[in-house]
Symmetry: C2
Subunit: 391 residues, 2 copies
Amino acid sequence: MTPVTAIADLKPSYIREILNLANHVDIISLAGGLPCPETFPTQILEEVMPAIAADKQLLQYAPTVGYAPLISCLHARFQVPETHGIMITTGSQQGIDLCARVFLGHGDKVVTESPSYLGALQVFAIAQATVLSVTQESDGPNLQQLEDLFKAGDVKCFYTVPDFHNPTGCCWSLEKRQAVAALCIRYQVLLIEDAPYRDIRFSGTSLPLVSSFCPEVAICLRSFSKILAPGLRVAALIMPKRWLPLFDKVKQATDLHSASLTQSVALAVLEHSAFEQHLADTVARYSTHYEALANELDVLCRELGSGYQFDPVEGGMFIWLKLPDCDTYQVAKAAIENGVTVVPSAEFYPSSSKPQTALRLNFSHNEPEVIREGISRLKQTLVSTLGYIAR
Amino acid sequence: MTPVTAIADLKPSYIREILNLANHVDIISLAGGLPCPETFPTQILEEVMPAIAADKQLLQYAPTVGYAPLISCLHARFQVPETHGIMITTGSQQGIDLCARVFLGHGDKVVTESPSYLGALQVFAIAQATVLSVTQESDGPNLQQLEDLFKAGDVKCFYTVPDFHNPTGCCWSLEKRQAVAALCIRYQVLLIEDAPYRDIRFSGTSLPLVSSFCPEVAICLRSFSKILAPGLRVAALIMPKRWLPLFDKVKQATDLHSASLTQSVALAVLEHSAFEQHLADTVARYSTHYEALANELDVLCRELGSGYQFDPVEGGMFIWLKLPDCDTYQVAKAAIENGVTVVPSAEFYPSSSKPQTALRLNFSHNEPEVIREGISRLKQTLVSTLGYIAR
């Protein structure tokens, strides 16, 4: 009764393991990608719930593709072209998994940025796909490397988070968006554009989705976990209509359909007159959280020396703090002992890559004063494990 | 951008396709396995929803294994031994899929009854497992065939629905339950016991779960879709604790976790003082529905001749109506034109098997008067397509 090798060998997520620790009262978590509970639209929810509770239709089996009124709402909200359709998924995580199950067979090649979202790397490992990496620069992937990979042939997908990348927080330039789209069209590579943080922008200008430049070879994943509530597990896949029947077959076998109740809740919140203001408030709150973290890190980097560095971000949930050469797992472990959790950079790289020495720090979950205390603990940890460098 | 072959080749579910038709006002569906909407616990729901809507914790990311208070409740409800643990899944369909993802690699052997649940066959097709069949008799699988398959070696799993089998409605005898469990232990084959209909028993005596005789090599799937509401998508996997970390890793990659809101709703309904009475009412209602269908079929079989036959059932949702030799797809198609949907038997067999000539008829969804009209339409269809036989 031995499990499949790909499963037995799969590392459990450091972040999911650490989430358990994060619930201990004395530990400050800068590790997870949790929204701040204060941003959950509880007032709107209490208003819309009675009508939802009375709707018997939500309790019956439902179409695999999703709750029709929610799909209609999202068609308008995301201005989905007529050539394209929507499937509702149990969070974007399921969306990534469905993409892999439809398109990635054993040994098929998928390109990811290096570093990349851990949950996507887990999916590709289970699919037993071959993961190839392209270096991430401050404005997007290295185009020459990407084209070389595509040119070598047989690349089926390019998975990416172009807006407020997880873990680095970086955003692609307009030029790179257009260039990558052109490469995907030219080499007929499926672009899987994961956009969970796109709506959390507190400065700068929003650029078009990469998939908008190559819609016929792209699937875009839109999540409501960051702007509404992750516990609802509601996200949407937007894709050319011709692929919907394939996704339908796989999702049928996967879970028949996502819960109708939570889809209906998501719809009611999205359509509520107070939602846009709620979203603006959420973004404003995260801007404040970000300022608190960035200010503390400015001081930390100045004090601890030139090996410490981070790039400012214009949205999302994370800052990527580069460290002097060290064992980041050891730093993360020492940090837990000091009462703060962070994610070591190696977690975000496929096992074949050499990771940049860094930590991913979250600013969405905690209030500014908690963030400040967390960074104070992290600073102590860094001083005691790595010492002052080049002061 | 070609999809994985196993997906491209997968037949979409006839039943899911037919569900769309079933929504047309003029068509009576005896095809799906839908609960009767009158059995949804709407009164209990309206009572418990306000407290659930106000619980912010349900909106946050949550542990992959499931909502802890629901897991505790189910440990007690199902008297799960200390050696075993529970994972909450998005319906039992996801439970089957997770079992396959953990244990069934490409080409691995899984045994199913012939006929078997279509959704399981779809999962095994996507896993590219080798499906072997054991003939189903009126009291369970043919034991000699089963042992021969196990003895030939390398069988990893045996997937089965021992209580009110889908599609045939049959229940295993105590002797076969014990014998199959002994075989699974002897040959170290994982028993996947799917028990969604177990609580819908309106006559006869409930027998122990097969997995209770071989708990160390078994996973039991308990669904709340038939006794509570399928739209919630809440089910539980019960398994030896040592396997939980494997399932946790796969479910992490699959969807992070199932929606907390619906898990909390399921818990609140299960713990409500009115639930056991509600369940008894549901079973009583289905007994009435069953009597209506069985009575009509008695008349039909008497009138149409000896080629028509069905075994009475003591619960579940289906009757398996055997027909004289014919093309059951053609009958099902003619039935739709006559305003009633049924499922042709071939849908429930792996493509390598020769199907018994039969139709699966559902009695849970419709009120007795609708069932009677449905069978009247089916009778017309049978007369016009097959004619009277051996009258």
